[in-house]
């Protein structure tokens, strides 16, 4: 069982590493920034470097210690002790427990129970804390923004900083009423967090980084690349091409096509930025609309706007994937 005293002792000669999983727009980076601001010692926060887009899976890292020299490293965090997941739909999509040691903590915004979480992430050697942050967010903030609320759960299990320290950081960062509301939501989160402690604490002296993991050894090497660095469309040399990215998980809507109403005008096909409108060649030798590629459709709704016969409709994604709230429900529950 971790205690405030134990954590203070650990921080003297070790780093405590955090990782936040969220989707673009949910404020995962802000959550990690707040950790650095709230922490009394030295801290550094990095997003996973790259282009963040609305709805795409994001990661951000925090490294904290009372020893300034340990925090000088700009290496990314490979071995987090506390992982927070803001959007439960990420559990099936991302390996959220990567690098998490035995006894490490997984904090999830979810209504699911511990067994389900453990089964989903296939780890029984980690501690789990769950919080229905979405409900608190809708109740208190009136918006489904859970990034500060998840920090309440983090306070409850980690003792890295106190509620007062976090409240201070929030007051410095947010303007007006929103600061007070966030603090109120965090208080509620601390109380409502469900803690499933397996009775093992993480060993903070061990770093779980796999040697050379930053080099992604499972990808082709320099001797196997094309002479001009070209990624040819007809070869499967590069296993990380953009057509293999599940952009379909980024959106908040399922887009539905009505075959009856469709006139095959193909306007949706032209406007779709992701080639997610599927067409097939019919027996008549002409191309016909055949459906929507949900693996790539990130529900920008351009097709819905342009369709002249209302053959395209939308439906809010059900269950945990519904990461955003439609405007007409905002403020309610």
């Amino acid at each position: 069982m971790l205690t405030p005293e134990k954590i203070k002792e650990v921080l003297k000669d070790n780093t405590i590493n955090l990782r936040f999983h969220a989707r673009g727009g949910q404020g995962g980076v802000t959550a990690s920034n707040l950790c650095v601001e709230a922490f009394y010692g030295y801290g550094i926060c990095q997003p996973r470097f790259g282009a963040e887009r609305m709805g795409s899976p994001t990661e951000s890292y925090v490294r904290l210690s009372a020893n300034a020299n340990l925090i000088r490293s700009n290496e990314q965090v490979y071995s987090p002790h506390f992982v927070s997941v803001l959007d439960p739909s990420l559990l099936g999509e991302i390996d959220v427990t990567a690098g998490l040691p035995k006894g490490g903590w997984l904090i999830v915004n979810t209504t699911l129970d511990q067994i389900s979480i453990q089964e989903t992430v296939k780890r029984k050697d980690i501690n789990v804390a769950t919080i229905d942050a979405t409900r608190i967010a809708l109740d208190v903030l009136g918006r489904n923004i859970t990034n500060t609320i998840i920090l309440g759960a983090l306070i409850r299990v980690s003792y890295i900083f106190t509620l007062d320290e976090l409240a201070d950081a929030i007051m410095r960062r947010f303007v007006g009423q929103i600061a007070g509301k966030n603090i109120e939501a965090i208080k509620q989160a601390i109380e409502e967090t469900c803690v499933y402690d397996i009775g093992v604490d993480p060993d903070f002296t061990i770093d779980n980084k796999v040697r050379w993991q930053q080099v992604d050894l499972d990808l082709p090497g320099y001797k196997e690349l094309d002479l001009a660095g070209v990624w040819y469309c007809d070869e499967e040399v590069i296993p990380v091409g953009s057509d293999q990215v599940n952009t379909g998980s980024w959106g908040e809507w399922d887009v539905i096509w009505d075959e009856e109403k469709c006139t095959d005008c193909a306007q949706c096909w032209y406007i779709c930025p992701d080639f997610a409108i599927v067409r097939k060649k019919g027996d008549d030798g002409l191309w016909h609309m055949a459906g929507i590629d949900s693996f790539h459709c990130k529900s920008c709704l351009n097709c819905l706007e342009i369709c002249p016969v209302d053959a395209i409709d939308k439906r809010l994604k059900q269950g945990p994937a519904a990461c955003a709230v439609p405007e007409d429900q905002e403020g309610g529950n």
Binding site: G27, T30, S32, N33, V36, E37, Y42, G43, I44, C45, Q46, P47, F49, G50, A51, N67, N69, L70, I71, R72, S73, N74, E75, Q76, Y78, I145, R172, R173, F174, V175, G176, I178, K209, R211, W212, Q214, V215, D216, L217, D218, L219, P220, G221, Y222, K223, E224, A228, G229
Partner: protein
């Protein structure tokens, strides 16, 4: 969520403030404090927020500067150089391909002796593929055009460098660029202490200097025949001689005013048992310092001023600590078969001392540089006893699937 990253700079900063920011916004804040007259830059990842932040401050009314939008980096540097030449305190910023596009106008800022300042958020050049991530493009090609260059390790240093650059430019009448590693520093949130405005004002007073003006008309940059060009170049070269001294003095003055003391070269644990040290620049230095908490038999030499290069100071340090071997780490390559650019500089500086060294090319295009690279470089260096054979190698690169190049274990 209403977050205004530049909010702290909307009003007078009266006392030192501890806060946390990304590198780019920290630079925007520091530039605000130096009170520029003209800001002219073209956005490019990962430099963007530095300019965005400044537009925020100008829009809010705190900074009375001309914020000029232009169509390219070549336009940005041309406009900035000209604005600076008519007497405006001017700031610009770029990275990577933008820096290459500026190339045509970069030498003239030096030739006209304008105290322009520029932030570089270091990012790879595109070849053979596009990369928005960190490499040391600033050590390549354009590093020999005569710009003063300061390199920063972390957010505090890059914030301070924005102020130091104005001091150094104004005192030397040469343009100064200050560099931080793209994304690694530009987009990382770190704690830093802001300097009160009053102190920044005292550190960066306006000084009378030569400017384009109507009272004293002349042709700037006009053609000269072979009877004059060489004298022009020698004139600049001689003017460059005192610049290292000016930088040193600026660092000292800055240290006195803020309590943060920088040197052209910083050293760590050089009095070690193996008489070996890493030598590098930028954010990697932090990684090495952290790694050194468990590797106490090796030292680190951190270069803060890359141009002009303090070669006598480096020689003095190597001699004083009796350093026998240097491990050069750099995030650029030259494809010249000899040495990458930073290593060439070190090799030239140390030629008289015949110090043994090997150069390791790491972290290109944003690849993380970790303890793995340091462990292997240290191990490889322990075997080195002469300067024969190839002096550089890429480290942390895949040769084939599941096979790392040049590392056996």
């Amino acid at each position: 969520m209403s977050i205004e990253p530049m909010r702290l700079f909307f009003k007078e900063i009266k006392e030192p403030v501890v806060t946390s920011m990304i590198g780019n916004y920290a630079v925007a804040g520091a530039v605000t404090q130096t009170d520029p007259d003209v800001i002219c830059a073209f956005p490019i990842t990962p430099q963007t927020q530095a300019v965005e932040g400044l537009s925020d401050v100008v829009n809010q009314g705190r900074l009375k500067a001309a914020f000029v939008n232009v169509e390219s980096e070549l336009a940005a540097i041309s406009y900035s150089t000209a604005a600076c030449a008519v007497g405006a305190r001017t700031f610009t910023a770029t990275a990577s391909q933008g820096y290459l596009l500026m190339t045509e106008a970069l030498p003239m800022a030096v030739g006209w002796r304008v105290p322009l300042t520029m932030m570089i958020s270091a990012r790879a050049f595109n070849s053979p593929n596009l990369s928005i991530w960190n490499s040391w493009e600033y050590t390549q090609t354009n590093s020999e055009l005569g710009w003063n260059t300061i390199v920063s390790e972390n957010v505090q240093e890059t914030y301070d460098a924005a102020i130091l650059a104005v001091m150094i430019s104004d005192n030397s009448l040469f343009p100064t660029m200050f560099v931080h590693d793209g994304f690694i520093i530009s987009h990382s949130v770190q704690k830093l202490t802001l300097i009160p405005d009053e102190i920044v004002r005292k550190l960066t007073p306006r000084k009378p200097r030569h400017t384009i003006n109507t009272k004293h008309p002349g042709t700037w940059g006009g053609i000269v025949t072979p009877s004059f060009f060489m004298e022009g170049r020698k004139n600049i070269d001689e003017a460059k001689e005192p610049v290292l001294g000016i930088m040193k003095k600026s660092f000292e003055e800055f240290g006195k005013a803020t309590g943060r003391n920088y040197s052209m070269i910083e050293t760590y644990n050089l009095d070690n048992s193996t008489r070996t040290a890493f030598i590098t620049m930028g954010s990697m230095c932090g990684n090495i310092v952290s790694w050194m908490t468990k590797n106490k038999d090796i030292g680190l030499i951190k270069i803060r001023t890359f141009r002009p290069f303090p070669y006598e100071e480096l020689q003095r340090i190597v001699e004083e600590y009796n350093i026998e071997k240097l491990i050069i780490l750099e995030k650029s390559d030259s494809l010249n078969g000899m040495l990458p650019p930073f290593s060439m500089t070190i090799a030239s500086a140390l030629y008289p001392l015949k110090t043994l060294f090997r150069s390791f090319i790491v972290g290109l295009g944003g690849r993380d540089v970790t303890r793995d690279e340091f462990d292997v470089a240290k191990k490889k260096m322990a075997q080195v006893s002469d300067m024969k054979g190839k002096l550089y190698m890429y480290l942390g690169v895949r040769e084939k699937k599941d096979k790392l190049y040049g590392v056996e274990d």
